[in-house]
Homo-oligomer: 211 residues x 2
DNA sequence: GTCTATACTTCGATAGAC
DNA sequence: GTCTATCGAAGTATAGAC
């Protein structure tokens, strides 16, 4: 008694994610999302009341997923430095599992959150809050020097997102021979981020016989 | 014999910069650009043959300006570490002089350079090339540890752009009381970036009596 | 739940007078 | 160089049959 194959809203959301990542909210075409999901437009509007609501649902999911991963890292029994290593690797893992995330994040930052409602913004806000909690824990315990949690958040997340979202443009620039740069894989980039952050967050060695 | 006040293409470009920053290429409306520049649409099309050409002209200017500033820094007589401090401050200065830049950069990275032609991409590519030259100089002289130039470029630029472009969404999140974070001015952020980068790039102290 | 056809709107771009 | 008026294309969303 197999149920007839039903088009799940999930397939629409996946198609929407690719379209919004490629073209942004304004550039995304509802027709194209429907075609990518192998659904007709009316079906899409049956599951989601508008392009905007589809977008909000998608972003709320993204942010919630990231917050759940970060929450697991923050609650684990590990030193702040190890947690920060895991945060960096965790962001990279999420992005590799969902290659559309960086472009969507970049665009939404540029939009100033214009298409987001309160619950979506709340889901978004929990991401920096969790990172800040780890940083503050490390600063309080002396594992880190005095780092501003907001600075920590941006210096951790931004290079990863920028680098990974920038892969297409980097490929284009290098295929036009406009610049010749040594290869740098995503895994290399993560390791470089971890090394740089460990050095950047480390407390100063106490001045010899201070005071 | 004052010339009659003529609408300069520059005013159209300034209006276009704000519109493209606020809404992206796809979301930008030619009518709105014209209205913002106090010009009618036909006038705009008299100076620029299409929305795309207007966009390309704008971005080529942006990248060229940034490359010129970086070039002056790279050629100066200073240590690599000081040059990197100046690169960070220089990016921040350019952004403060042109507050529309971050959003446009974020969007263009997300677009994968889709709207750019070869000369515009060439202007863009010279920015990471100049940063890479400074980093490679520092690595070669022993002033820096072995830093990958591409990693250096992204870890310098991305946090600044992300942080400054994210100001509107940060204000919205904090005005909704979704998160309560200590203030962090742009100048503070620049100083934090400089400190973090100096620590991150510094060479390892030689192991005591190694070998 | 699923589809076709279409109403209504808005946009990029141009024609043509001055 | 500058303007008004408008065209044709393309977009979001819905009506209504099945």
């Amino acid at each position: 008694m197999a149920r007839p194959a039903r088009v799940s809203p999930d397939e629409i959301l996946n198609a929407a994610a690719r379209e919004f990542a490629d073209r942004g909210f304004a550039g995304a075409r509802v027709d194209r999302i429907a075609r990518r999901a192998a659904v007709n437009k009316a079906m899409l509007y049956y599951h989601f009341k508008s392009k905007q609501q589809l977008y909000r649902t998608l972003l709320r999911r993204m942010f919630t997923l990231a917050a759940e991963r970060l929450n697991a890292i923050a609650r684990a029994d590990a030193s702040p430095a190890v947690k920060i290593d895991r945060v960096i690797a965790g962001f990279a893992t999420i992005i590799q599992e969902h290659p559309v995330f960086p472009a969507i994040m970049l665009r939404e930052v540029a939009e100033g959150g214009a298409h987001l409602d309160r619950p979506t913004l709340a889901a978004l806000a929990s991401v920096p809050r969790l990172v800040a909690a780890i940083v503050e824990e490390g600063v309080a315990s002396g594992a880190f020097r005095a780092i501003h949690p907001v600075f920590a958040y941006f210096s951790l997340l931004a290079p990863l997102v920028f680098y990974l979202a920038g892969t297409p443009i980097r490929k284009e620039i290098s295929s036009l021979h406009l610049i010749n740069l040594r290869a740098l894989s995503a895994a290399d980039f993560v390791r470089a981020m971890q090394q740089a952050t460990r050095r950047s967050f480390a407390p100063d060695p106490p001045a010899r016989a201070a005071r």
